[in-house]
């Protein structure tokens, strides 16, 4: 036993020796996170002000200026109806962002509530909830969303329902597994001895300990949601024409892929940029918050 403790101390000491490097990586992580966060905030601001920043009305058709390549007047060119692609991208951003945030909130909300209660209460309730999630997890998520959106009919509200229906399960699963392990912790026992009610325990002791992994998950999910939303719009199931929405814009430009590539490239790039930023942000958030790496 002594020996083991010695060994452990030695290894700790060794680690401490490399600490300058470690500090460097930690600040590196912080820096990376800072940059990504400010980028994300910038994107959100642009999206929020999209309608004001757009130089032209995104719905204004101009039959004399159809399919014009990018120029000083039309930064990203025009589409088949002579609408300004740049303005459409900017206005589409607010759609994509607000809907993705909304959906992540809904999905995480449902998932966390169900997951926490089921993990904390346990027993039969837990079994029922988890079997339901299992059923939902048995379907490929995109196929399920397409099916639901197809049945409910096209439209943004139906898309939100379709995507929410399938996406809440992963939050429920994760929260549930965390909550059920926290339930066994000593501090919960102690709180109980201290006279806290079950609801108090759930909100004061269980939930705060879950929040870190959930925030990471939600951040990573924003990009995913945007892709799903764009995917459904691409299939004509979400945004209806003439709404400026990136997925729909890409769909619309399909037949002009070779003759007017700017119609496809710029909305595609906007989508790519946003998804990358949010995914990297989620990654670096994990690097910072995850206790395993921070030691």
């Amino acid at each position: 036993m002594e020996q083991i403790i010695e060994k452990y101390k030695a290894s700790r000491a060794e680690k401490r020796l490399t600490s300058p490097l470690q500090i460097k990586t930690v600040t590196g992580k912080r820096l990376r996170f800072g940059i990504l966060l400010s980028l994300a905030v910038l994107l959100v601001i642009i999206a929020a002000l999209g309608n004001i920043l757009a130089p032209m009305d995104p719905l204004l058709t101009n039959y004399d200026m159809t399919l014009k390549p990018p120029s000083r007047e039309y930064l990203c060119g025009t589409d088949v109806l002579g609408r300004d692609v740049f303005s459409r991208i900017l206005c589409g951003a607010s759609n994509s962002f607000s809907l993705s945030f909304l959906m992540v909130t809904i999905v995480a909300g449902i998932g966390i509530v169900l997951g926490t209660t089921s993990g904390y209460i346990g027993g039969r309730f837990d079994t029922v909830i988890m079997r339901i999630t299992d059923i939902f997890l048995a379907f490929p998520s995109m196929v399920f969303a397409i099916a639901v959106a197809g049945i409910l009919g096209p439209g943004l509200v139906n898309t939100i329902i379709a995507l929410s229906l399938i996406q809440w399960t992963k939050y429920a699963r994760m929260t549930r597994s965390l909550a059920s392990s926290i339930r066994e912790k000593n501090y919960i026992e102690q709180a109980r001895f201290g006279g806290a009610t079950e609801v108090q325990i759930m909100f004061k002791y269980v939930l705060p300990n879950l929040i870190t992994p959930l925030v990471i998950m939600a951040t990573l999910d924003i990009g995913m949601m945007m892709m799903s939303l764009a995917g459904l719009s691409f299939l004509g199931l979400a945004s209806q024409p003439p709404t400026p929405e990136w997925g729909y814009m890409i769909n619309e430009s399909r037949q002009y892929m070779q003759t007017a590539p700017w119609m496809m490239i710029y909305p595609g790039m906007a989508l790519l940029l946003v998804v990358i930023v949010f995914n990297l942000l989620g990654d670096s958030l994990r690097d910072i918050l995850d206790p395993k790496d921070n030691d």
């Binding site: 109806l81 209806q240 024409p241 619309e252 037949q255 892929m257």
Partner: protein, 510 residues
């Protein structure tokens, strides 16, 4: 870092595999005999049985089977398997079947064979009776007598409809679905449902030696995929390349484009049962409010002047139509009491704003472009249009829960106006999704039944077209060009206004 490199390598190799897969696929289809043609076709049905759905259209397109009469490029009836015919009385028609024609299996084409084939088609496919109501057929040698139960002035035209493709039905019935035997220049050897067809030359073809030895047809549904397949050389010839992509094939050293105004058109169907559209003034205002000439430019089509395409002998550009005039549209609405009272730019009547639900399918392309342009233009005259893409447009059509929908239609597939008019615009016609009812039109359609002189029929068709314009029933927007695009290796192909004609004996490859 190592992990990243590894995943990068993996991705590169996967992408590589993807491309190698493509190239090997196209490589294999190039092999075969010298006079081999690969063709991309935009529709292949579940089988090749003319008595099933619209599957006969594939038979005439691929040159496997032929009909008794056919249409020339001016949409006039010509002799094909029947070389002579005469009308005995209002109900009786006598056809002389061309002598010396053989099915691809060597059986002679007799009146009896044609009779048996038609009988089978009438038994199996309900659609056949929309072309003429069959009473009985009498076959003697090469003489086929067709007796109809009602007078049908359109019979010569209607016999060109590919549902009346003549195939040998004396063969094993099980083989008809995939390898029917016709009289055309090419015989089918292999058919994969909704995927591909392989054909070989019919050396004994009655109308001369066909120009190819073998033909492979590939069903490529997506227009953009047809474009890419043609560019990559996977196919040598493709029917119906989207007009927006024709610019890619303008290099005359590599490609040839054959284009002609087709029989199909873009129509916006309006539902006359809905409150707003039940008013003639609203429909007229909408008709004046859309800029057809500009739309035609956007979608590379011909602006429409009425129901019938100008490719047809009775498609007239002298009808009294609606020219783009938004001031007039505004005035009509204003006079009819539609006024924008709350300043939102949309006109109201009795507190209800003019809000129209416009359905379109999810295939994109022409319908998508047109609907958005119409939406933008109608907004200028104070009419709000909501666009809804739907996967099940046919259900919505039947349920009548739409205000407008986009319809790519063919108003005279056989070069005769009667069938379409009676289905679509006659009171309670089975495709009368506009719920249009007019005594004038009903009388005119019944008059068509017993009118046998072609010129008179054509006059009636023009009258019908004018009635539809006067009542502003639908928006006739444009006529769609029909095209065939091929590499310069392929010779003698020519687009036909009726797109069920494609392969013929003249097409050859160098």
């Amino acid at each position: 870092m190592k992990k990243r490199m590894l995943s990068l390598c993996l991705i590169v190799s996967l992408v590589g595999m993807l491309f190698s897969g493509c190239s090997s696929a196209s490589g294999s289809s190039d092999s075969g005999s010298e006079k081999h043609l690969n063709m991309g076709i935009y529709w292949l049905g579940t089988d090749l049985d003319p008595a099933n759905e619209y599957n006969g259209w594939s038979l005439t397109r691929t040159g496997i089977a032929e009909t008794l009469t056919k249409l020339n490029e001016n949409i006039e009836v010509e002799a094909c398997l029947a070389d002579k015919w005469e009308q005995v009385d209002d109900l009786t028609w006598k056809f002389h079947i061309r002598e010396g024609v053989k099915f691809q299996n060597g059986n002679p084409l007799t009146a009896e064979a044609v009779k048996n084939c038609f009988q089978r088609t009438f038994d199996k496919n309900k659609r056949a009776t929309t072309y003429f109501k069959l009473d009985k057929m009498i076959a003697e040698g090469q003489e086929l007598t067709i007796v109809t139960s009602e007078p049908c002035g359109a019979i010569l035209n209607n016999l060109v409809e590919p549902i009346f493709s003549v195939i040998d039905v004396s063969v094993d019935q099980a083989t008809i679905a995939n390898t029917p035997v016709g009289t055309g220049p090419y015989a089918v050897t292999e058919y994969v449902s909704e995927l591909s067809a392989e054909c070989v030359v019919n050396a004994d073809y009655w109308d001369g030696k066909p120009g190819l030895e073998t033909v492979s047809y590939q069903y490529i549904k997506d227009p953009d995929s047809r474009v890419l397949a043609l560019q990559s050389g996977e196919i040598d010839l493709a029917q119906t390349i989207p007009a927006t992509s024709l610019a890619l094939f303008e290099d005359e050293k590599e490609y040839q484009i054959s284009e002609v105004t087709g029989l199909r058109g873009s129509t916006i169907c309006m539902n006359l049962q809905r409150p707003a559209l039940s008013k003639l003034e609203v429909r007229q205002a909408i008709s004046y409010g859309i800029d057809k000439d500009k739309y035609a430019e956007l979608i590379h089509a011909v602006p429409a002047t009425g129901l019938f395409s100008t490719a047809l002998p009775f498609g007239s550009d002298k009808l009294k139509s609606y020219a783009f005039d938004q001031a007039k549209a505004n005035k009509i609405l204003q006079d009819a009491g539609y006024v924008d009272t709350n300043g939102d730019g949309i006109r109201e009547i009795n507190g209800e704003k003019i809000h129209l639900q416009f359905y379109l399918d999810t295939s994109g392309g022409t319908g998508e472009t047109l609907s958005q342009a119409i939406q933008a233009d109608l907004k200028n005259i104070g009419i709000e249009v909501e666009l809804i893409q739907s996967e099940n447009l046919s259900d919505i059509r039947k349920a009548g829960t739409f205000d407008m929908y986009y319809n790519g239609s063919n108003a005279a597939p056989t070069g005769d106006p009667q069938a379409y008019l009676s289905l679509t615009y006659k009171t309670a016609g089975s495709s009368n999704y506009s719920y249009y009812s007019s005594e004038k039109m009903d009388n005119l359609v019944s008059k068509l039944n017993s009118t046998f002189v072609i010129e008179d029929r054509q006059k009636l068709a023009q009258e019908a077209s004018q009635i539809l314009l006067d009542d502003a029933v639908n928006l006739f927007v444009s006529y769609t060009p029909s095209n065939i695009v091929g590499s310069t290796k392929v010779k003698n192909f020519k687009a036909h206004p009726a797109d069920y004609y494609l392969m013929n004996k003249d097409i050859t490859i160098e």
